[in-house]
Assembly symmetry: C2
Homo-oligomer: 369 residues x 2
């Protein structure tokens, strides 16, 4: 059999953060911490666990393909109509649906470089030409991205804030961009880290939909809401755009336990407010500790930090791994010498800093700059 197109064989498959169990198995370690996948480091709230246990009793039944209850609760929370929502098996799936619905072989998409790997991956598999516009000082060059749009462009992907840089596009920048781009182009604003951002000039993408029918905004329950294992995210757009997403969506794409857990998470506001405050405190701790180690980092508006680990960057990630601390080596993103560390619990972050300090003094002795 022949694959549909060579681009499928040409793409480098996505490599996620190493699972804890893999590291334990491969390196024979018992105590391993994972700061590599931008997960919420805390276990779920008791209300979420109760909702999962309740839903598990009906695990023999297919999920509600329309996510009736979650749709109702989330629409009210966001102040949108229920028909403005589409749910996905993680917000990753909303990216894939957008490509499926709007991109034909030979069409183009515009992304930042580096940005979240799935934008380019999903587009290339579909046979699209991917135009990459380099970040400037780790921030989106929206002017450059606007210039990269042409008549073949179907989607512009904007991670706001994006991974791996952790920076965001301001309200003013976003509005200027939207004004300058044809309404025939889908502007896909990925707000996976929305709940972490505290900057005042950060735009809530959902508020842009009314004035811009070509905007779709995605968010996820995988990050702040800590439901990564269950795979659930969503997209918000005009009902006509959502109607198209629903046509390419698989009928039972969101599992029932994820739906129930998401409803419970939305209702447990106190729990997540406390988590958000803690993550903010952890960010400040890591900034201070990294500075004390003499390391540069990119100011982040997410739950991870991009750190310039110097000439020994890749070695640092490997050395940390051997000591049971999983972080992400950024060379796959073209950021040689950088590592990306997710904000963990207080104990995890202290272990990371301590291990990193020992590692750097060792590797920098071996390979001086």
């Amino acid at each position: 059999m022949k694959v549909a197109r060579q681009s499928i064989l040409a793409v480098k498959p996505y490599v996620g953060g190493k699972p804890i169990a893999d590291v334990q198995r491969e390196l024979g370690l018992t105590s391993v911490i994972k700061l590599a996948s931008n997960e919420n480091p805390y276990p779920p709230s008791p209300k979420v666990l109760a909702a999962i246990a309740q839903a598990a009793r009906d695990v023999n039944r297919y999920p509600d393909g329309n996510c009736y209850e979650l749709r109702r609760v989330l629409a009210r929370r966001l102040g949108v109509a229920p028909g403005q929502l589409v749910f996905g098996n993680g917000s990753d799936e909303i990216i894939v649906m957008a490509v499926k619905a709007f991109v034909r072989e030979g069409d183009e998409v515009v992304i930042a470089k580096p940005s979240f790997l799935v934008y380019g991956l999903a587009s290339r598999i579909a046979g699209a030409r991917v135009r990459e516009v380099a970040l400037k000082s780790f921030r989106y060059d929206l002017e450059g991205m606007k210039r990269a749009v042409n008549k073949r462009t179907k989607i512009v992907f904007i991670g706001n804030p994006d991974n791996p840089a952790g920076t965001y596009v301001t309200r003013q920048q976003m509005k200027a961009f939207l004004k300058g781009v044809s309404r025939d182009v889908l502007v896909f604003i990925d707000e996976a880290y929305f709940e972490y951002v505290r900057a005042k000039d950060y735009p809530d993408g959902i508020r842009l939909i009314a004035g811009h029918p070509n905007v779709v905004v995605t968010r996820t329950f995988s990050k702040m809401y800590g439901l990564a294992a269950l795979r659930i995210g969503y997209g918000v757009a005009r009902p006509s755009v959502i109607g198209i997403f629903n046509r390419v969506r698989e009928p039972f794409n969101v599992n029932a336990l994820a739906q129930s857990a998401a409803v419970a998470a939305l209702q447990d506001r106190a729990h997540y407010a406390a988590v958000a405050d803690d993550i903010e405190a952890q960010r400040r701790f890591l900034y201070r500790a990294l500075t004390a180690l003499g390391l540069e980092y990119v100011e982040s508006f997410t739950n991870f930090i991009l750190v310039r680990a110097g000439a020994g960057g890749t070695k640092a990630a490997q050395a940390l791994l051997k000591k049971g601390v999983i972080v992400r080596d950024m060379s796959a993103w073209g950021l040689k010498g950088y590592i990306r560390v997710s904000l963990g619990t207080s104990l995890e972050n202290k272990r990371f800093i301590k291990t990193l300090g020992l590692t750097l003094s060792a590797t920098n002795r071996e390979c001086p700059v």
Copy 2:
């Protein structure tokens, strides 16, 4: 924005069996039974529930994208290499992956008519031409399907047994078909109901892979294993074919709770052997009861039965619904006058038969044949 192709707007979206909660809400009923989605009517085994509860504690972590543990356990059970397996968000997703990997716009696929709706749906969305070959006496016309294959054909979908007819392709028929079809065509054998079949001449598709590199076999944990809510299925093929599926697969497509539940289900053999025996007994009960009602049915090798409800078929499904018994009206499949009923628990099946008897005598009075 313009959709990628008109076929996306032209397809009739899949309509699943009505969820119990929807019927309760819409009709104000408290006691509703669902015999419409070919689900396992029994709650999960205690071991499965325990596995879900255990996995829920780590719900903040991304799932293992490689399904390491499940892959190990399942490969051993099936007698295949771990690299011969690909996992999906339900086996539906394996169908979608096959289309994505092998079908370009303008290519063709061959399916039976009627057959499981997702084969045609996924293919049409991708811009494929779908050649449909009518069943003969509710069985696959494999000779006709072979004749429908041409140079543009990329996939032939064979549900074995298929939904909605419930019949199967014999070993001899399958082998003759495989012999006559080019190895450039993917033969997609969907064995979602594999665990229900007790016929001696039913072929285990996995045993055909060694001799036929173009065969992929899918199975699911949604039916006999009763994990429909969690969405997990798998495909088996040669490692080179699996490698292609993995390239178009989303990295975290299978949620972690599904992986853990599936491992526990595979290990609880006694529970599922008892369920299988019970379902078999329920099938015999329904055959007798339908015959007593003077109704014809198609002999089924699955956990559902296609019943000829006569001139009042659609009315019968609606009348049953109003009395809290959800079955599937088959007119969407082009089978006017037929309903499809899933095998439920003993109590559910008795209620179905009793309600159907009352309904038919009422509707047949209204509209005599």
